[in-house]
């Protein structure tokens, strides 16, 4: 005899990682259907972007995927620079690459720490946030902002790297390698983590493609798609790194893919530091006096690999100092839509882990 329950999770709930509302239809303990309500953090960034100058809008992109601000800025600025035919000096590109990878590590640290909290482990949270704090100190050292950095400008970066920053990054990388293995061991040595992650939240590759899922979720389903590799931006074609995939398609696979990506990020940063050239760090075309006069015309759609997947930005300019239309293709928005498929037939407790492994960020889902 079946017993139907409708359970409400959210909008404010520690397991939702942001403010979404999950209405779960339960057959005793088994999830039959999940109805996701989003929009509690709809901050109309796309509308405001139309009212502002091109230079202003980086701050709204910072706040989309707020734990991975550097990649969001990069996504917007790539589009703007393509629109304006603005060239970025070599040094600025390498600096951007280092910062993007550091930002990816910082974002993953939040994601993994929060996953630990959901499984019931409090300790990894403190370790991951300590590592994140170190990265944020580097960001402050470079830009002055901790989390929403506003570091990259049109045609380069606002402030140059100096020796202190480079030394700090080197120090961090040296310490992080060992620390990461220790954090991973904390998870994989735990019997509970193992039981709750293996075999839950299975996502088949054809469903993932059909729903437009990208990022670590797609890679964990066995499809090696990474924007950094397939259509390289910055100098990702000049560094060596691997695209990790997992065959298991479950939550454990996603966790391991994310961890492996961290190792690859460390590898990329090391190569970047070795190759960092001297030279100007911004394009003189976008200097002080011209900041408000930058114009663009035409359509452009560029994409970068953010921590949760393929982040695309569409901009249409009408030859004015303000963009005509800005649209962000946010990966979390698509990734979250597949949760009902992944959770169907699983236990209610596994739904929480599935949501955590999606790593959706509310600011990016709702924009």
């Amino acid at each position: 005899m079946s017993h139907w329950i409708e359970l409400n999770i959210g909008p404010v709930h520690p397991a939702t990682h942001g403010i979404y509302r999950f209405r779960v239809k339960l057959n005793e303990e088994t999830v039959e259907d999940v109805d996701i309500t989003i929009g509690y953090l709809h901050r109309n960034a796309e509308k405001i972007c139309e009212l502002n100058y091109f230079v202003n809008n980086t701050i709204y992109f910072d706040r989309m995927d707020y734990i991975d601000a550097m990649n969001m800025e990069l996504g917007y600025l790539r589009a703007v620079e393509t629109l304006m035919d603005m060239e970025v000096p070599e040094r600025a590109q390498w600096i951007r690459m280092i910062m993007a990878e550091l930002s990816r590590i910082a974002a993953r640290m939040v994601g993994i720490g929060a996953l630990g909290l959901d499984v019931g482990m409090l300790t990894p949270f403190f370790h991951t946030f300590h590592e994140r704090e170190k990265i944020q100190n580097i960001f402050v050292e470079a830009s002055g902002g901790r989390q929403e950095v506003n570091y990259m400008s049109i045609g380069g970066v606002y402030q140059d790297f100096n020796d202190t920053i480079i030394n700090e990054i080197k120090e961090f990388i040296a310490g992080f390698k060992g620390k990461l293995e220790e954090i991973v061991k904390m998870f994989t040595d735990s019997e509970i983590f193992w039981q709750r992650n293996v075999g839950t939240g299975v996502l088949e590759p054809d469903i993932a493609l059909d729903y437009g899922v990208t990022g670590p979720m797609l890679r964990a389903s066995g499809i090696p798609y990474d924007v950094r590799k397939d259509s390289p931006y910055l100098y990702y074609d000049k560094v060596n790194f691997d695209v990790p995939i997992a065959k298991s398609k479950d939550n454990m696979g996603r966790f391991l893919v994310k961890v492996e990506e961290l190792r690859q990020s460390v590898r990329i940063i090391e190569q970047c530091l070795a190759k960092l050239p001297e030279g100007p760090y911004f394009n003189p075309k976008a200097k002080k006096s011209a900041m408000l006069l930058l114009k663009g015309q035409g359509d452009v759609f560029t994409r970068v690999e953010s921590e949760s997947g393929e982040f695309g930005v569409f901009i249409r300019g009408d030859g004015n100092v303000k963009p005509y239309r800005v649209h962000a293709r946010s990966p979390s928005f698509k990734n979250l839509a597949v949760v009902p498929i992944m959770a169907k037939g699983s236990l209610i407790a596994d739904l929480i882990i599935t949501i955590a492994s999606v790593d959706a960020v509310a600011g990016e889902v709702d924009r």
Partner: protein
């Protein structure tokens, strides 16, 4: 002691209560947006807000007496914030963290953001910054403690 023992005793009792309240503020995790991450960082090892008696971030409004509204409050979220605030037991305090919560922040031009959470619930301490660093939030907490002990009004 000229005005009678009772008066003196009540004030000292109140002082003791204030002192006790101010040193055991248990915050509620009201992480709405970007500032939530910095709020988590405040709880984590590097700043460790537990040193001020804010021992643990509770997930239930029934168990907490301090609501840190961290992040943009949209119009859709405002009724829910109010409902959660009403569920908290007295005495309750509110810290508005970040400029979005104070006056709308970067989204003042928009159509879906509440321009200041003090239109919805009463706020005790405002912590500006976008987002405020964990130290700034800790300073806000100290300000709140001082306010509870009637030591500051700024």
């Amino acid at each position: 002691m000229k005005t009678g023992d009772m008066g003196v005793k009540t004030t000292t009792l109140e002082k003791a209560l204030e002192w006790g309240r101010s040193n055991s503020l248990w915050p509620l995790t009201m992480g709405l947006a970007c500032c939530a991450i910095e709020m988590m960082a405040t709880q984590a090892a590097d700043v460790d807000v537990a040193r001020f008696g804010s021992e643990i971030f509770r997930n239930s409004p029934r168990q907490s007496d301090l609501m840190i509204v961290a992040g943009t409050t949209t119009k859709r979220m405002a009724p829910r914030v109010k409902r959660i605030y009403e569920e908290m037991p007295y005495p309750k305090y509110v810290i508005a963290m970040g400029v979005c919560v104070i006056q709308g922040g970067p989204y003042v031009d928009g159509y879906s953001v509440v321009l200041g959470v003090d239109r919805v619930i009463p706020v005790d301490v405002y912590v500006p910054g976008c987002p405020p660093s964990p130290q700034a939030l800790t300073y806000g907490l100290i300000t709140l403690q001082k306010k509870i002990r009637n030591e500051t009004d700024r």
